[in-house]
Symmetry: C2
């Protein structure tokens, strides 16, 4: 069924039907009601493709998830993010097109996606600092927003949490409990969340007048296995506590510590970041920083939609709040 038929049945022009559909104010109440009644009765759905071509906007957002991210299968980060983006899009009459991007996509592939006009804007999740897509996005004049800030591209819009201060806060919590020899399992050094959380760790030590011992800093990859491997390297250095930059890595670290015959928190305390659903169920439960992942996805989508509706050269920056969640793994109870 097409708009034409509705027009005929209502005894008005296609223009008028179109206006009713698009909530244009310039339609008399009576006409509007009559047309609407017919639309309802026939359960008419405008053809989205035709609307897009004529209107110049598709009402579709692209959600890009870099495939290289090993995190994809080790915790519900992406499901939560997707849920947030999706529900915000639904609420604003938008759809989401998913693009699980191969890490070594060529520039041409990238351009194909950006230039094919099927999407109005892009939400780019947890990209690497040197992601070629980010470059392409900047060149193309496609509105986009990052989940996670970019350290050098200051004109880019993003939604993030204050990783630096949050990490500083949880390491300060360990320091306050009396731990001094504190190790960290960082995120990847080419991801901003990894960098910022490490910087927060350093800041806390600085605040207490302690040096950052390079031997106590090992890079991880946000996965459980990565956390296990990192902890293996740390354990001989006898830390009193460890800050893992993600809960998943903390789970790996807990497992390694147990395999080494040591106890958490008595022998080594452990804290982390994310507060994933499983963080409350580890043995012992994790003291961690809660960050609102689904919310970040939703806010990103909403902000992007707003950017498209109210173009404005200045970048949007949203920082969402985090929360320190204290459980048993930090040994609060014992100190």
């Amino acid at each position: 069924m097409k708009l034409e038929e509705i027009a005929k049945l209502s005894g008005v022009s296609r223009s008028t039907v179109s206006r009713v559909i698009n909530r244009d104010a310039r339609v008399s109440p009576l006409t509007r009601e009559r047309v609407q009644e017919i639309i309802q009765r026939l359960n008419y759905q405008p053809n989205a493709v035709a609307r897009s071509l004529a209107g110049g906007r598709t009402h579709v957002l692209g959600l890009v998830i870099p495939m290289g991210v090993s995190r994809l299968f080790s915790d519900p980060y992406f499901p939560l993010l997707i849920q947030g983006v999706s529900s915000a899009c639904n609420a604003h009459d938008h759809s989401v097109m998913l693009w699980v991007a191969d890490p070594d996509y060529e520039r041409r592939t990238v351009r194909q996606v950006l230039n094919n006009k099927f999407i109005d804007g892009v939400v780019l999740a947890s990209s690497l600092l040197d992601d070629p897509l980010l470059e392409a996005l900047t060149d193309a004049d496609m509105p986009f927003i990052l989940i996670g800030r970019h350290p050098s591209k200051l004109q880019v819009s993003y939604v993030d949490v204050d990783n630096q201060n949050s990490a500083r806060e949880i390491v300060a919590h360990l320091l306050r409990l009396g731990y001094r020899r504190i190790a960290t399992i960082t995120g990847p050094h080419n991801m901003i969340a990894g960098i910022d959380r490490l910087e927060g760790y350093r800041a806390a030590l600085r605040q207490w007048g302690l040096p950052a011992d390079p031997d106590l800093i090992v890079e991880g990859d946000f996965t459980e296995d990565g956390g296990y491997a990192a902890m293996q390297r740390l354990i001989s250095r006898q830390p009193e506590a460890v800050f893992a930059a993600s809960d998943a890595m903390a789970v790996g670290a807990l497992r390694m510590i147990r395999d080494a015959g040591l106890r958490v928190p008595q022998d080594i305390a452990a804290v982390s970041f994310d507060d994933m659903p499983f963080a409350a169920r580890t043995e012992p439960p994790l003291t961690t920083i809660r960050q609102p992942i689904a919310r970040a996805g939703a806010v990103a989508a909403e902000t992007l939609i707003d950017m498209m509706e109210h173009p404005d050269p200045s970048p949007r920056r949203v920082i969402l709040p985090t929360e320190l969640v204290i459980r048993a793994s930090c040994g609060s109870a014992n100190r």
Copy 2:
């Protein structure tokens, strides 16, 4: 840039350029080459929306994930599925539109999505048996395919594994090891995977001439917490072994058994289904049925694309192979 400009620069008509783009055979080699060269040089991308409107197909698949599924955040089932669908779509020049569906979507919402012509077909993942979307999909004449068979709608295409036989196989493995009092934590009774795996459990007992004790069958929901709760109810009934219908539930069950002061597999053996990445790292590692989740997503997308290109009233049914993976949780070593 539009097709028109390419036509002008190549000195041919728009029709011819369109034919080159669409690999139509009726273009002379020389013309084809000349046009292609110009397309390359200008990095021209046809407007996908216009193509869709004119051509009648969008080359976009809808991937519908019912939100109600608590499983969404408890294991990487959906990430794996999404990855499979996405990579198959990329390989076949299709895009994927994600629809995280609210469980109580109204018929109208459903129709909106199906009738708006933005997608050519739908992959419906792990729906409930009485999913209204399935009804709507059948009414609308939109090609679609299920991940997981439907017990009564026999004319529907699907990709699945042989849940029944796979479950029977792993329970038979327990029986062969000498366990007799075997409990099961099932999946939801309104999901086919839950039903089929339970039936496989029953079939194995039947094969050994054992009755299925209703006290040893407890319904779970495919989540870790669900597994924990189910195991709490089972533990007082003193099973020798338990078959959980998913690894995530097995993790919950392991935790519960440990909390009860019992050991796996010495006091209670445990086996499960999925072989998720974490199944090899539980304590003890899980004996489980490996199923190819990403592959199922890819095959579903490919089959659907094939269905759209070669319409044919008879439904497609694909069964992917599984594999019994033996680790420590079944106690093989001790028997």
